[in-house]
């Protein structure tokens, strides 16, 4: 009886391990690891772009905007 469950669990583990290996293989083949620069940028886009923080305490909005402008100027200078 116990062995049936073990075979089942063993099977699940094999499937799981195989899927991990397949995932790595797929990622390497598909070039997922070929351009890290682009990968890192992929979550930031023109709508929520680099240098545009997008979350703030509601009542600190004014102060926050000034801080952002100050930082933008600092970098420009």
């Amino acid at each position: 009886m116990i062995s049936v469950y073990y075979v089942l669990v063993f099977g699940i583990m094999l499937l799981f391990g195989a899927s991990i290996v397949w995932g790595l293989w797929w990622a390497l083949r598909g070039g997922q690891f070929s351009d890290f620069q682009k990968g890192a940028q992929s979550v930031l886009d023109d709508d929520e772009p680099t240098l545009r923080p997008c979350d703030v305490f509601p009542d600190l909005r004014e102060e926050y905007r000034k801080e952002l402008a100050r930082r933008a100027n600092e970098r420009k200078a």
Binding site: Q37, E48, T50, L51, P53
Partner: protein
């Protein structure tokens, strides 16, 4: 990049569509998670009071300590943390795959199944139907309901991934995708081997700890890290410092974490090789942890002032730093010379909360501050309540961790031959001399401290822990109120698809875009 720019108008609209499609199921999951968080905190407070006032509510069998404690653990693990995690996972998955959630109603069904499972399980534990296996106390029918709910989540994640419109698989997706497979794998394995046809004795303990530890490292940690890797760049407007390190961190976590569980059985009645292997795995965890810590720190570097402004960032950074601390502490505590004296003390409870609370829960709070407004289209109503939430839970947690760590270390030293209890020595010699005599006594193995003296020594710390629980409850209540206000449209309406501050965006956006244009050539190679 070019394609993105062309597609910009389309993507803005699609993102609004994605957020709309996620709104109902994610809000149902989030709302349920907050309900279970409050229930879990309530059970925690009961259990905490009972530990220093054993007569408190002692005559009701269903509220005895041995039932309230697992009710706390299971409601916060499967109710709060998992449901908040699932909502975050679904939203991140859709955002990163750039496709709307299909048939969202099915995920509401999943949330229903999950809630039903939790209700059955929690009532089951209180009624005395616990399975008696730590982290898996829910009776079988509840486990079945949880699994059915989760099957839907896994299927939907796979389907979303298969339909994805984004070319690149972002690091968060690796973590999320792994998590939706790891959890059912762990859960099915333990249900088969411990519940359906239980093995007996020591193999059961090995499987138990393999599960209980992996559910942290392979289910909660990946979701927490995925959220951090997505939200950190979003909130500060800067990409991850080293994307390469983040990917390396994922694969090394996947390789080493599996092994860590059996360090709960150090020097116990298990074959020594299992424990040794587990200690090695635990120590190797330093690699993924250091890559993650370095990465988060360098990404944030120069932006620490933003912590003042962004609730999301404040919670997320709190979580990210805790991840580093808890993991390094965990690696250290697997060593025999630290594990043996301190493992069976309150310090272990402190360590567990450093992981589940300070890292995961704080990260989930941060994620919810970012995600919920995008689901409801409304900002958070009250900055004061956000502050009460943050400081309540931050100070509450710090107090709890300190109490449990200090109390636990004293308890561990006394349990292991300190000769005389710290309390007695301090009463006799004052603080400084008392403490140094106490440590000397432990080093010299002066002999047994009577057990009831050890218990008495922990009382102060346990009482302070109850105080910390009240602070945490206050924070959670503030958050629940915020959530209700947001969902019921008591907050301010905001315009536009997904941005937090569209109404403000126009006037300062120009300056920032200019700054960005100036920076672009130096910043990126393309």
């Amino acid at each position: 990049m070019n394609q993105l720019e062309q597609d910009q108008g389309g993507w803005t609209a699609r993102r609004a569509e994605i957020d709309r499609s996620c709104a109902t199921p994610c809000l149902v999951f989030y709302a349920s998670s907050i309900f279970w968080l409050l229930a879990g905190t309530f059970f925690a407070l009961l259990a905490s009071v009972k530990l220093h006032h054993p007569e408190f509510l002692a005559d009701w069998s269903w509220l005895t300590f041995g039932r309230v404690r697992p009710a706390h653990l299971n409601t916060v693990i499967y109710g709060w943390a998992s449901m908040a995690g699932i909502a975050t996972l679904l939203w991140l998955m859709c955002r990163l795959c750039r496709v709307p959630l299909m048939y969202p109603a099915m995920l509401v069904v999943a949330a229903g199944l999950w809630n039903l499972g939790l209700t059955v399980g929690t009532v089951g534990i209180l009624m005395g139907y616990s399975t008696g296996i730590e982290w898996l106390e829910f009776p079988m029918p509840a486990a079945f309901l949880l699994f059915s709910g989760f099957a839907i989540v896994t299927l939907w994640s796979v389907a979303t991934f298969a339909q994805r419109q984004a070319e690149h698989v972002y690091v968060s997706q690796w973590y999320l995708f792994a998590a939706v497979f790891w959890f059912p794998w762990l859960y099915v394995t333990v249900q088969l081997l411990l519940m359906l046809f239980p093995v007996k004795g020591i193999p059961q303990a090995c499987i138990n700890w393999w599960f209980a530890h992996n559910v942290l490292g392979l289910w909660f940690s990946p979701i927490g890290l995925a959220a951090i890797y997505y939200l950190l760049p979003k909130v500060i407007g800067r990409p991850i410092y080293s994307y390469y390190l983040s990917i390396l961190g994922f694969w090394t976590l996947a390789l080493f974490y599996n092994w860590a569980g059996a360090h709960h059985l150090v020097s116990g009645p298990v074959p020594a090789w299992i424990v040794t292997a587990s200690i090695v795995g635990s120590v190797m965890m330093i690699i993924p942890v250091v890559t993650v810590a370095l990465n988060h720190h360098m990404t944030l570097h120069g932006n620490f002032r933003l912590l003042k402004y962004s609730p999301t960032l404040r919670f997320i950074v709190f979580g990210a730093m805790s991840y580093t601390i808890v993991s390094l502490e965990g690696s250290m505590m697997s060593f025999r010379f630290l594990n043996e004296p301190f493992h069976f003390t309150h310090r272990t409870i402190g360590h567990a909360h450093l992981g589940m609370y300070s890292f995961f829960t704080m990260t989930m709070f941060g994620s919810m501050y970012y995600i919920v407004p995008r689901l409801t289209g409304r900002e958070w109503h009250s900055a004061r309540l956000i502050r009460i939430h943050f400081w309540g839970v931050a100070l509450g947690f710090a107090l709890m961790y300190l109490c449990l760590s200090i109390g636990g270390v004293i308890q561990g030293l006394e349990l292991n031959q300190a000769g005389e209890s710290l309390e007695k020595l301090i009463a006799q010699f004052g603080y400084l001399d008392g403490i140094s005599k106490f440590v000397e006594g432990f080093k010299a193995q002066n002999g047994a401290v009577p057990f009831l003296e050890i218990v008495h020594g922990t009382l102060l710390w346990l009482k302070l822990r109850t105080v910390s629980g009240v602070l945490l409850l206050a924070g959670h209540a503030a958050f629940a109120v915020l959530m209700v206000m947001n969902v019921h449209a008591w907050g301010r309406r905001h315009i536009g698809p997904t941005l937090f501050h569209d109404e403000d965006a126009a006037d300062y956006d120009r300056a920032l875009r200019q700054a960005r244009a100036d920076l672009t050539p130096a910043n990126s190679g393309d």
